[in-house]
């Protein structure tokens, strides 16, 4: 340790001549070899570096701020500070002109009124939601299949043109809507769909599949009937 202390004190470290002047074997005890010297210098540099790193870790900007503010009064919250600014002392009020006083009173009254109105609006919305819930629950209790049609009713109600409709109307319309999809296609519709699946582009309104089954004679007879219906019998000229 004493050696380390010596090396931390460069003036003493490099004052060999002064020590040598004292002479004797005791003086040789303070002399270190070149290798030890280099090792101690390196160790010193390492310790300095470690110390600096530790300092950087511990003394973060937040910690430094804390340290500098230690013992002082913490700052007031921003809102509180603002409120304080608006509070006027009697002395300050006395300095205001009547016009300024009126403006200040008007401003304060408006702020207070706005606050009251917001509060009332929130209460009304809560009431309306509760009322809707009650209404829906009552409707559901009288209609067993309400849950089945509920998604369709919701979908319908999203359309602005249905927004004013009561639950009973929405329920009726939802039922009609669902019925259209559940209806079994008629034989005529089935035939039409079958024809459409095999029809090739360029064909007429008739099913391509039906036409390809016709014999030449049948196709001719059918065509003749159609033309006669439209234009009458074959003219002579």
């Amino acid at each position: 340790m004493s050696k380390l202390f010596r090396f931390l004190n460069p003036v003493k470290l490099f004052s060999f001549a002064e020590e040598d002047a004292g002479g004797g074997e005791d003086k040789d005890k303070d002399i270190v070899s070149k290798a030890d010297h280099d090792a101690l210098v390196a160790n010193n540099a390492k310790l300095t570096k470690d110390l600096e790193e530790m300092r950087m870790e511990v003394l973060s900007p937040d910690y430094m701020t804390y340290l500098s503010n230690k013992g002082t009064k913490p700052p007031e919250p921003e809102e509180k500070a603002k409120a304080k600014e608006t509070e006027l002392t009697e002395e300050a009020l006395g300095k205001l002109s009547p016009k300024e006083l009126l403006a200040l009173a008007e401003k304060n009254a408006k702020t207070a009124l706005q606050g009251e109105m917001d509060k009332l609006r929130a209460e009304t919305a809560t009431d309306s939601k509760a009322r809707s819930k009650r209404e829906i629950a009552a409707f559901a209790s009288t209609h067993d299949d309400f849950e089945e049609y509920r998604p369709i009713m919701h979908g319908l109600s999203l359309d602005p043109k249905h927004s004013h409709k009561p639950l009973a109307t929405l329920y009726k319309e939802a039922k009609e809507y669902a019925a259209r999809f559940r209806a079994v296609p008629t034989e005529e519709e089935k035939k039409k769909q079958k024809g459409m699946s095999t029809e090739k582009p360029g064909g007429g309104s008739e099913s391509y599949a039906d036409l390809r089954k016709l014999s030449t004679a049948d196709a001719t007879a059918k065509a003749l009937d159609e033309v006669k219906k439209e234009l009458g019998p074959i003219p002579l000229a």
């Binding site: 090739k200 582009p201 360029g202 064909g203 007429g204 008739e206 391509y208 036409l211 390809r212 089954k213 016709l214 014999s215 030449t216 004679a217 196709a219 001719t220 059918k222 065509a223 003749l224 159609e226 033309v227 439209e230 234009l231 009458g232 019998p233 074959i234 003219p235 002579l236 000229a237």
Partner: protein, 328 residues
């Protein structure tokens, strides 16, 4: 205002053709064995005209990056587009129906006489078109320089090393990454008398073709087909289920349908892989009747045309083959 006789008959002919067309188109395809067999493998395609040419997607290129590898091995990253698109032109086939005012007038107001003449005229047009389709499908011509469809003899060439451009690709020069001629079909000259070499020759070219595909149809001329039937009858099954279902008179060779066509060159047998040959039709122009036009310098004589737009194509040629010079 009431329609005149000419106007009335124009409407009657047009309406009748509209009703007959699906059946007549079927009849044209039914009558043609080759198209019937293409249809059986869903190789009659309907594709609308989009631009001047129609596209034939080919898959002829192979990647060069596939490899076996061990832990940590690397693959060479290079872009690869396996699809090559060949192009060909649409071909228009048509015939006309002419009506003379005098004939119309002679038939007067008789429904029977008018319908008889109409049926006769339309049947004639249908039969003519049917023959034209058959002729064109078997012709040794094709490409943009001729008006006909690409013929089978043009698509499956008996001398594929000669310079000829099919779908825009020259068969004599086109090579793939490995230097193989990918755009040439297989060909073989018969080794001798059919009674001695017939079966071995057919087997040889069948196997050669099957290195690149799956032969499922043989087409010969009548003589060669009869020779095949006489020679092979004792050893091979003569029934193919698909051909029976299609109502085709046929024999089989190693289970493949073997038919004959009067249009096939004498001594030739074509080996076809129906997955790579087909016929494309524009559905909007499939034997449709155009408007009736008055012939300018003739009194009330009128004419119309019935037209079709289509072509025959191959999307791979190495899998097809032809054996030539077969004789008894």
């Amino acid at each position: 205002m009431a329609a005149t006789l000419t106007e009335y008959l124009n409407t009657l002919y047009t309406t009748t053709w509209a009703k007959r067309r699906p059946g007549d188109v079927d009849q044209i395809f039914e009558a043609n064995k080759l198209l019937k067999l293409y249809n059986s493998k869903s190789m009659i395609h309907y594709e609308s005209t989009d631009g001047r040419r129609f596209e034939i997607p080919l898959r002829i290129r192979k990647t060069t990056t596939a490899k076996f590898f061990t832990k940590g091995s690397t693959f060479s990253i290079s872009d690869f587009d396996p699809l090559t698109v060949a192009y060909d032109t649409w071909k228009n086939l048509g015939d006309q129906v002419v009506r003379y005012w005098e004939d119309d007038k002679i038939n007067g107001g008789s429904e029977t006489r008018h319908t008889k003449m109409m049926t006769s005229k339309m049947n004639t047009v249908r039969d003519t078109l049917e023959e034209k389709v058959e002729d064109a499908l078997w012709a040794n011509t094709g490409g943009a320089s001729v008006d006909d469809y690409n013929g089978l003899q043009y698509l499956v060439d008996d001398d594929p090393s000669t310079s000829a451009t099919i779908h825009g690709i020259n068969q004599s020069t086109a090579v793939d990454e490995s230097g193989n001629y990918y755009w040439r079909n297989q060909t073989k000259t018969s080794s001798g008398a059919f009674s001695v070499y017939g079966e071995s020759d057919l087997t040889n070219i069948l196997n050669t073709c099957e290195r690149w595909g799956k032969i499922d149809l043989l087409v010969s001329d009548q003589t060669t087909h009869e020779l095949g039937e006489a020679e092979a009858l004792e050893r091979v099954s003569v029934v193919n289920k698909e051909a029976v279902n299609l109502g085709l008179d046929h024999i089989t060779f190693k289970g493949r349908i073997w038919i004959w066509s009067p249009k096939c060159t004498t001594g030739y047998t074509y080996m076809l892989d129906r997955r790579h040959i087909g016929f494309t039709i524009d559905p909007a122009v499939n034997m449709i009747m155009g408007p009736w036009k008055k012939i300018p310098n003739q009194f009330e004589d009128v004419v119309t045309q019935i037209v079709q737009r289509a072509n025959q194509w191959v999307d791979k040629r190495r899998c097809h083959g032809v054996i030539i010079s077969q004789a008894a």
